[in-house]
Point group: C2
Chain length 435, copies 2
């Protein structure tokens, strides 16, 4: 199928020519004021300081042909390359090829929760480094290569650090990643094992993030591509592939309800954008969908603002939750999350540590999916919103699991032990009373 440049997702018709081959991406565009700037390692609008996003000329024409082209693509996120800011030969380059993770039809979980309209878990623990972060990083890596960066970097609560380390290793780039001190051991090891530099910062994630912003402006950071700072417009687009996959795996249909965890909020904003793009391209039939946001009680600035009826998100200074990957006290996209949940008729809610662990164990017991604490947050909030009536159990619901239980072992370790330790004899087994 020939790809025709007939549609822009920004509504601005004048394309900006670009020095880079990043597929259908033609410019950066301010989410607030719409001002365009050429493709490059920029992330803030120079007119209004709003966040920059990628502007496209997406393939037009027959949706059926585009669906067929996607179906014939590789069994990973590069099947959506015609919709992403990556070179058309991206699948042939050395990268981790994440995506096309399972959409688990969770019938046993549905039965326990009383959901009758279809319940699905999008299980992103199947990605190469076992979190959704491989998606945005795979796109940021292409941007880094295009812009000639030699070091790939990030501020991270853990999962991103591992994803950046692995992607840089595969691509043969240097990496240097920054994490708050005191993360889970699995995440620390995974951030270091790929051979790049790992720097622990004595402070919170928000301190790490501020430090990285300083580093970009300093000669020390020259030649560095920070996936979630100066490459953020590209990086952020990676989460759209979750929306694409969910709809394709549902047979090119929108879900009615989708529950998404919130750290910076970027993922939720981009999933909403991805769903709307599919409608615009005619790949799915338009219908209302509701987006729900999940936070951990110990770091719930967005949930608190939502419940207070405001969109002024007051930062949490000292996050205190076992869901460390969601422990961003000052979430950049918080207000957008609230807007989207209100606009679509969704909601924002939070759960405490005990509810998180309960939900992790519920998901493991019913569906054989061992989720990270963040997955426990999302399922815990789902359960809470079903009980409150905010989520309609008669509609199709998709719950995201964005990470892997092996990375947050401490949450379930105390209650996940052998039922018995016995000698290797039938008598000992009989005495243990398990037969």
């Amino acid at each position: 199928m020939a790809v025709q440049a007939v549609e822009s997702t920004t509504g601005t018709s004048a394309a900006t020519t670009s020095a880079y081959d990043l597929g259908p991406a033609v410019a950066l565009s301010c989410r607030e004021c719409g001002t365009r700037t050429p493709l490059g390692p920029s992330f803030v609008c120079l007119e209004c300081f709003g966040p920059l996003e990628v502007a496209y000329e997406l393939p037009g024409g027959d949706p059926e042909a585009l669906r067929a082209r996607i179906a014939a693509g590789p069994a990973n996120m590069w099947r959506y390359a015609p919709l992403l800011p990556v070179p058309s030969d991206v699948a042939a380059k050395p990268n981790l090829n994440p995506g096309l993770t399972p959409l688990v039809q969770a019938d046993r979980l549905a039965a326990e929760l009383g959901v009758t309209g279809g319940l699905y878990v999008k299980d992103d623990s199947g990605n190469p480094t076992h979190s959704f972060k491989d998606r945005p990083v795979a796109i940021a890596l292409e941007a880094a290569r295009a812009f000639g960066f030699t070091t790939l970097s990030c501020s991270s609560t853990g999962n991103l650090a591992g994803a950046v380390g692995a992607a840089a290793a595969r691509a043969g780039l240097r990496s240097c990643v920054f994490i708050p001190d005191g993360l889970e051991q699995s995440k620390v090891v995974m951030a270091a094992v790929y051979g790049g530099e790992l720097v622990a910062i004595d402070g919170t994630y928000d301190d790490v993030n501020r430090f990285c912003s300083e580093l970009i402006g300093d000669p020390l950071g020259e030649g560095w591509g920070f996936t979630n700072v100066n490459l953020r417009p590209f990086y952020a687009e990676g989460s759209k592939t979750l929306a694409y996959e969910i709809c394709e795996q549902l047979g090119w249909e929108l879900p009615d309800q989708i529950v998404i965890p919130v750290a910076s909020g970027c993922q939720l904003v981009k999933i909403d954008k991805g769903l709307r793009e599919l409608v615009r391209l005619g790949l799915v039939e338009d219908k209302p969908f509701q987006i729900f946001a999940a936070q951990a009680e110990g770091c719930s600035p967005v949930s608190r603002a939502y419940k207070d009826g405001t969109d002024a998100v007051r930062p949490v200074k000292k996050p205190d939750t076992i869901a460390k990957s969601l422990a961003i006290g000052d979430p950049a996209d918080g207000p957008y999350v609230i807007d989207i949940c209100r606009r679509t008729g969704g909601a924002v809610d939070d759960v405490n540590d005990e509810q998180i662990v309960d939900a992790m164990k519920l998901l493991a017991r019913t569906e054989g999916v061992f989720a990270e604490t963040a997955g426990g947050v999302t399922l815990g909030v789902t359960r809470k919103l079903i009980e409150s009536g905010a989520i309609d159990p008669s509609l199709t619901t998709v719950v995201l699991n964005t990470g892997d239980g092996l990375k947050t072992l401490d949450a379930v370790a105390p209650t996940s032990r052998p039922t018995a330790v016995i000698r290797p004899s039938l008598d000992a087994f009989r005495d243990a009373g398990l037969a």
Copy 2:
């Protein structure tokens, strides 16, 4: 495409009718004497005590049509359902849907090892519970359902226990799994988190295995399907899908050389069988291929027998290696492994703990793949055999990674730590000397 029953992989033309719908499987057949017995939970030949295997009537006809049928199948191992002992509607049943894991084109690793003919890592850490064990368990689960078992069980060095727990949870079966006491924490948690019974046995894996064989013969074990004992003929076939995928991912070509870790040896035997089936079905062109087997020095009964020029495998009483998933002192398929390596012109070798860790870090650093210790064994032996000249660097080589580094964290944790811990300031970063 209509599937025609025109070919048997056992060479016996008389099909045995079966009470069970297990796809192309028509009987069990002794690997030693060829005696056939009806499909059922049997694993030992009553004539000669040889191991039973599944006998098929496989689809015949046009290989191109079969390749197209496979390509149009699901993005998991059920695309090969026409070649497996599972019901034709297996993909619609609640199971973990493992398989179609990445075949990583390892160019940077190849450059370090001096391989010029193409080096690939088959990375099975992408499976649902992050080891290859999801494959055999998925098939054993179908057999368990067919035979009416209500408890799924196994003896395990860890990975299998997690795979059984998760598969049983998804399917709504009870599970009770047995492990040797003292396994890695990640594996213990993963064996318990899915809510089944987990019993630790005070002894080695071989003690656990003997205990399970006793349990099957006892009324206590009634209604229990042990994936790797009374369901073993079905379970074992799961590893063939590794052979199928590798060839499909190479563009329906046989690799020249393939390096496989050896615990019980079952996986290697079945990969060899799978490769030969593809030749017989015309799905790949026939050409010589060499199979190499990898063990850990601290539990290397097969390697020792191979080097001694015998096929009498003397059990190792007290395995002592960080590659606990390979710590089977008395490997059931040991002699078959030696036969296959000799017949194909391959070899068997082993590496010590230090070489295992080195290989794990080499793989992580060059390809962004974080392998379990067993993967370190396989890559370590690959490196050794390249250096000795046994593996030809000018030929296509596939190395298996069968598990996940997150499950054997202790092996690399001491050397995978932050390069520096600093305050969040440019001065502190400058002082750390990392820019």
